[in-house]
């Protein structure tokens, strides 16, 4: 068990150092501005519109409350809050995961208790 723990710690340290030094995913955070069949456009906090390509392997996750649930492209709607993990491919970004929440669900999640 001790050996396994040491290996785990070594791997964790390696993971952390590699992740910091050679991370290759970008997180695009913002609201959905446009949805196409093969891409989405996200308006970020800086007001910039960023296009992210959708591919067959893109996974969709609906976030409501504290729960994540599998979803599909057709569940996305303009105005949704999104966090997209994307891989740069040349000049474009390719989404590996699109996590989203509907504006209504997001608003009710932060509503103070009366």
């Amino acid at each position: 068990m001790k050996t396994k723990l040491c290996i785990l710690i070594a791997i964790a340290a390696l993971a952390a150092s590699v992740a910091l030094a050679h991370g290759d995913k970008k997180h695009v955070v913002g609201t959905l501005e446009k949805i196409n069949a093969d891409s989405v456009v996200v308006k970020t906090a800086t007001g910039k519109s960023v296009e992210v390509k959708l591919v067959a392997s893109t996974m969709y996750v609906s976030h409501a409350g504290n729960e994540d649930k599998p979803a599909k492209l057709s569940d996305l709607a303009v105005g949704d809050r999104v966090v997209i993990h994307a891989t740069p491919k040349g000049e474009t970004l390719e989404a590996s995961e699109v996590k989203f929440s509907a504006p209504g669900a997001a608003a009710s999640a932060v509503k103070p208790k009366s």
């Binding site: 068990m1 001790k2 050996t3 396994k4 290996i7 785990l8 791997i11 964790a12 390696l14 993971a15 952390a16 590699v18 992740a19 910091l20 050679h22 991370g23 290759d24 995913k25 970008k26 997180h27 955070v29 913002g30 970020t44 906090a45 800086t46 910039k48 960023v50 996974m59 996750v61 976030h63 409350g65 504290n66 994540d68 599998p70 809050r81 966090v83 993990h85 996590k99 989203f100 929440s101 997001a106 608003a107 009710s108 999640a109 932060v110």
Partner: protein, 202 residues
């Protein structure tokens, strides 16, 4: 053919083989970003096969295929193996892509056709000259390794729910955890944090 000519021919063939092998191994200046050549992959696969004792192939998996065992193995895989192999077994992670040789896609035939005993032996003993460490030798490791073999068989049918559950058990550093928290807060309605675009992440 005279003896002298035969020796000369043998030397020429040996030099040619060494040149081909060297060119195959030394391509891309020994960078680990390179992809192994077909020759190198074939040699490595055969070397691994030869290294696994014949008796190991005949071993039967004592871990029953129960939902409990599969879940144990799934979460174990998430926190021990996914950093290189990815939750879905594809090997598509920052570390996996940077290794040489790359971790195999565990869902594909090259891995799935290995016997249970061979997979078990690889988990327990590792593979020299690759990023695959040996996880054997510790108390209880054999049982864990057999369960992992069950999970590797299940990988081609991994569901979205299972993958999402695994994400909660993946190794994460403090920065990643903080960032994940900020993103979930944003999805729950918190104001958007203004960050420089193009920041690199895991």
């Amino acid at each position: 053919m005279s003896r002298g000519n035969a020796i000369l021919l043998a030397i020429v063939i040996a030099i040619a083989l060494i040149t081909v092998a060297a060119a195959s191994v030394l391509h891309d200046g020994l960078s680990s970003r390179a992809k192994p050549t077909a020759l190198e992959s074939m040699l490595a696969r055969n070397a691994r096969r030869l290294a696994i004792p014949a008796g190991a192939r005949k071993l039967q998996n004592p871990a029953a295929e129960t939902p409990e065992n599969l879940r144990d193995a799934r979460l174990h895989f998430a926190d021990h193996c996914a950093v290189c192999h990815a939750n879905d077994g594809s090997g598509d992670t920052a570390i996996g892509r940077g290794l040489y040789p790359k971790p195999p896609d565990l869902r594909r035939e090259e891995t799935q056709k290995l016997a249970d005993g061979e997979l078990f032996w690889i988990i327990e003993n590792g593979v020299r000259f690759t990023g695959m460490p040996a996880f054997g030798g510790a108390q209880g490791s054999e049982q864990d390794s057999w369960k992992l073999v069950r999970f590797i068989r299940h990988l081609p049918q991994l569901t979205e729910e299972e993958r999402m559950e695994m994400e909660r058990y993946n190794l994460k550093g403090p920065e990643d955890l903080e960032e994940e928290q900020e993103e979930n807060d944003f999805l729950r309605g918190a104001p958007m944090q203004q960050k420089p675009e193009g920041t690199h992440h895991h």
